[in-house]
Structures are given as C-alpha cells and as structure tokens.
C-alpha cells in the first residue's frame, strides 16, 4: 500500500494522525504497536489453535466457549480486538465465513485477509451459491453434510474449527498445525492428511 500512496495521501495521513494524537485519541506508540501486532499475526496462529483443539479436549471446550480466551491462551493479545467466535464443524455441518457488507476477518489469529475474501464476487456469491463457490476451491462436501454460511456482519469475528481428517492418528500438534491452511480456517477448504 505504501508504494501506491501519493505525496498528497502521505501528507493527509500525517496531518490526520497528528490531529488524533493532539486530541488524545491515540498515541504514536499505540499506532506502531497495532501495526506490529497486525503484521505479526498470521494463519499459523489459527492453525496452532485448531491443532491444539484436536489434541486437547479442555482447550477445545475453551475455544468453543470463548475464542478470545483461547487465542490469549496461545499468547495472542486480544486487547482492543473484537470478540472471536469459533464455528465447530461436525460430521453433519460444515461452516464457511464471509462478510457481505465489508471484509470483517479475524485478523488477530489469521492475519491480513486475502484479496479474494474482500472481492465483491466472493462476498455476493458465498451467500447466494456457496456450494458452487466451494467447488471452485475443489471443496465438495460429503453427502449429508449441511453447509452453514456465516455472514460476519457486526461485532464478532469468526474462524472455523474444521474436523480432524482421517489418517492423522498419532500426529502431534505441530504436524497437525501444518495441514491447517488459511483457507481451511475460513472454511473454503478442508484440511487433508
């Protein structure tokens, strides 16, 4: 984004930040800290949470009851972040997340949203023809699995807790985390052994 900014944009941003600092809305240090936290966040955090939930029933229960607390338990600061909700896939239900109104995304545990998540076509189509969109990722649900599209419209941010795939028996959490991709955490893909 920095490369696309014009001198006018940079000057406008500089004055806007200066005004916020003068008014006491935010400090330069807080802005720097937030940028650093956002840049550190990546889908690896969400993947580690899922892998732990697959191997630790108490952590799984915590994650489903309070996603923010589960993220904090993995060392992620959730201070000032929207509450995190965790959507539990079962043999009967698969979840996928979209934000039709903008691009709400659980940045604290997944990092920056990918471009396709913010695209108008994904946002329009995922509520209208979700199975067709999933098929374009090569994601076809087994017979009898219902699909729940979660439209992230307000104060929560949502991630999917997918089902642990067959063929991963005996794997440790690190090996399990490696198969939990960003796309699986959004629900457009399924983890594969």
């Amino acid at each position: 984004m920095a490369g696309a900014a014009t001198p006018e944009h940079a000057a406008l941003l500089e004055r806007f930040v200066a005004a916020l600092v003068t008014k006491g809305v935010v400090s330069e240090a807080q802005i720097a800290d937030q940028i650093a936290r956002t840049s550190r966040a990546s889908p690896e955090t969400g993947a580690r949470m899922v892998a732990r939930a697959w191997t630790d029933p108490a952590y799984r229960a915590l994650m489903l009851a309070d996603g923010s607390a589960a993220a904090e338990a993995m060392g992620v600061s959730m201070a000032g972040m929207p509450p995190l909700g965790v959507l539990e896939d079962t043999p009967a239900v698969h979840h996928v997340v979209v934000c039709t109104l903008c691009s709400c995304y659980p940045r604290a545990v997944l990092g920056y949203p990918p471009g396709w998540f913010k695209s108008s076509s994904y946002r329009a189509r995922m509520v209208r023809e979700p199975r067709a969109v999933l098929a374009e990722w090569g994601t076809v649900l087994a017979d009898g699995v219902a699909l729940r599209v979660v439209d992230s419209t307000a104060d929560y941010r949502w991630m999917v807790l997918p089902e642990r795939p067959a063929g991963t028996e005996g794997w440790d959490a690190a090996r399990l985390a490696a198969i939990v991709t960003r796309d699986a955490l959004v629900g457009v893909a399924l983890p594969r052994a």
Binding site: E129, A146, R148, V149, V150, A154
Partner: protein, 112 residues
C-alpha cells in the same frame, strides 16, 4: 425491546432506512423481511448505526440468527443455512400479527 431466546422464530424488519437519508446499517439487504431462528445471544454492543456518526451509541443485544438458505434464494441445497449477526432492534417476533410464514420454511428450519 424484546429479549429473544434461542430457538425463537424472528422476522427481520422490512425497513430500508437507506431511502430516508444517510445511515450505516449492519443488516444486509437480502435479509430484510425474512424469517429466521435465533441461534444464540452474542452479547450487547454499542449500536454501529450511531457509532458511525459519532452519536452516543447505546448498547444493543446482538443475536446469531439462522436462515434457511433455499428459502432465501429459491435455490440451493435443502438443509443449508446462512447465519448472521443481527441487532435486536432489527428483529421482531413472528406469528403475532397473523402474518403468513414464507412457504416451505416452517418445519424445515427446526430440523437443521
């Protein structure tokens, strides 16, 4: 303002404040006037419709509400659903004004 319970059927108000002036609405157009089922209460949050204009923003109850997917679009797989965060002031209980439910949605929603 009503408190809604999990499992309760609710209708999203068929209101379009966009036609009356500047506003910031977190209720998608495709749900206006539609009937769904409350999944659970998510807590109370400052009303974004006020926050967006720097007005005092009273906290409003937010609900996860489930809608039958095929009934929304007249296409899609039976049993699929869309689940959406909606604020209490956009929801009204159904069945109290003698209004008909959309065809084909009653019963099936309960089985999801």
């Amino acid at each position: 303002m009503s408190d809604f319970a999990a499992g309760q059927r609710v209708r999203v108000k068929a209101d379009f404040p966009e036609t009356r002036g500047p506003c910031h609405i977190r209720t998608p157009h495709y749900l206006r006037g539609r009937t769904g089922v409350v999944e659970r209460a998510l807590g109370r949050f400052p009303n974004p419709e006020d926050l967006a204009f720097a007005r005092p923003a009273p906290r409003r109850a937010l609900y996860h509400v489930r809608f039958d997917q095929p009934a929304l679009w007249q296409e899609g797989a039976v049993g699929d659903a869309v689940v959406v965060e909606l604020f209490e002031h956009w929801l009204e209980p159904t069945g109290t004004a003698g209004q008909l439910e959309p065809a084909g949605t009653a019963g099936r929603l309960e089985t999801i």
